[in-house]
């Protein structure tokens, strides 16, 4: 249509890049879980998924969401579908409110992400049925760390997205 459109990379490439980033974040999440031997994990995949749902809601598909969820289920030892379910929910609500989320400052976004992560971790505590002081402590720490991680993940993925889309 015009020069701007011409510079855009194909949707096909972009779609696969989104999938690739989700798989890479799943891989790192599993690695971190193995390394720290914690019961809860730093939800890198969830944060990546939230980012893609907010940045390009049109391009994030069910396939990669479910695949990354299944990967985490398999490698973290959960029932198949446990992660998929929460990812689908997170994707749905992210896409429902992505306009509002985009308009927020980064700090506000971090707070929202912290709340999402908190709900996510509570979901896993409920599934695992482990209610102890140490796990609440883990929950608190991981929520704070996740909110600190959000600007980093946001920055990296945004940079890669712009690079891939406009080649700048």
């Amino acid at each position: 249509m015009n020069n701007f459109e011409d510079k855009k990379s194909s949707i096909f490439n972009f779609y696969f890049f989104v999938g690739f980033s989700l798989i890479v974040s799943s891989f790192f999440e599993v690695l971190l879980n193995d390394y720290f031997l914690s019961r809860l994990t730093l939800p890198l995949t969830l944060m990546t998924l939230v980012y893609w749902n907010i940045a390009t809601p049109r391009n994030i598909g069910f396939f990669w969401t479910m695949l990354s969820g299944f990967i985490l289920d398999i490698f973290l030892g959960y029932f198949l579908g446990v992660h998929v379910f929460i990812f689908l929910l997170a994707s749905y609500f992210s896409q429902r409110y992505f306009h509002r989320f985009r308009a927020l400052f980064r700090l506000q976004q971090s707070l929202i992400v912290a709340i999402i992560v908190l709900i996510y971790q509570i979901y896993f505590i409920l599934i695992s049925k482990i209610f102890s002081l140490s796990i609440y402590f883990e929950l608190l720490i991981l929520t704070i760390i996740s909110s600190l991680f959000w600007p980093i993940i946001y920055g990296i993925l945004r940079y890669l997205r712009i690079k891939l889309t406009y080649g700048k």
């Binding site: 701007f4 809601p57 398999i74 198949l80 579908g81 379910f85």
Partner: protein, 282 residues
């Protein structure tokens, strides 16, 4: 400017009017599917089977750590053995160089011994005369040809003459504390009483200053001389010993303007040869 505005508008449009892919019509079936998978896993223990399958598939990956360790070990071992080999090669090269030096030195010793042997053989003809040996330290060809010889005795006198393994080569020009300067017989300043070995005629040969070349002074036109005649020292005047070959007549030239023949004699010795010089009195 318009292009930029257009671009911004375009971005804004795509941002505002984007609709997500997660519509309820797709979302709920996906949730249903997920529940079905969960139920399947609960009933048939699917995840365990998948995990076992994955563990088989990814078992080579588990070996990567060990493979990397082994690889690193062999890598180190290769380079350490390579280093050892390189060091050994350097050592062997040094040994070869030392052996070559030794060989060279032995060859020098051998040639020195041969030279000495010949000099000693020569000295037998000196009967009871004292002989002294010196080592050549320097050789100069310009402006005046001479050799410097290191000596370790004070018994050498200026009237002595010098020999090398070829025979008579020169006379002492300058006597210093630990060395002597020897000038060759073909030096312009030297005159040697000699004899034609064929005709036994006494002559005097004079150095020309050119290497290996003498001339015979005042040889009359009616004299008997021809190319190839051997010229030996006559011993007259007691300056040079008798009977040493000095050279051969190489050229006999007649001139209308002179009553004498121009006779050139090429000597048979090499003034700069060897490393040892023998001194004796004539």
């Amino acid at each position: 400017m318009f292009g930029g505005e257009h671009k911004q508008t375009d971005i804004a449009q795509s941002a505002i009017f984007t609709t997500g892919s997660m519509r309820a019509s797709r979302f709920f079936p996906a949730i249903l599917f997920t529940f079905l998978v969960m139920y399947g896993d609960y009933t048939f223990d699917l995840s365990s089977k998948i995990r076992i399958g994955f563990s088989y598939i990814f078992s080579p990956l588990a070996q990567i750590e060990y493979l990397a360790k082994d690889g690193l070990k062999s890598f180190n071992s290769y380079f350490s053995s390579h280093k050892k080999l390189s060091e050994e090669i350097v050592t062997l090269k040094n040994q070869i160089r030392n052996l070559e030096n030794q060989n060279l030195s032995l060859q020098n010793t051998k040639s020195s011994l041969n030279e000495l042997e010949e000099l000693l053989g020569l000295s037998k003809s000196f009967q009871d005369r004292e002989i002294f040996l010196g080592k050549i330290t320097d050789l100069k060809k310009f402006p005046k040809e001479f050799i410097s010889v290191e000596i370790r005795t004070n018994n050498i006198t200026k009237d002595m003459i010098a020999f090398n393994s070829f025979g008579l080569i020169g006379v002492i020009d300058e006597l210093l504390t630990n060395s002597v300067k020897i000038i060759p017989l073909h030096d312009k300043a030297i005159k040697v009483p000699a004899r034609n070995s064929r005709t036994l005629e006494n002559i005097i040969i004079v150095g020309t200053g050119e290497q290996r070349t003498f001339k015979i002074e005042e040889f009359k036109k009616n004299g008997d001389i021809k190319e190839g005649d051997e010229i030996i020292s006559s011993g007259l005047g007691d300056r040079f010993p008798e009977g040493f070959l000095l050279g051969r007549v190489s050229k006999v030239k007649e001139s209308d303007q002179s009553n004498f023949l121009l006779v050139e004699v090429k000597n048979t010795f090499d003034f700069s040869f060897g490393s040892i010089v023998l001194f004796t009195k004539p």
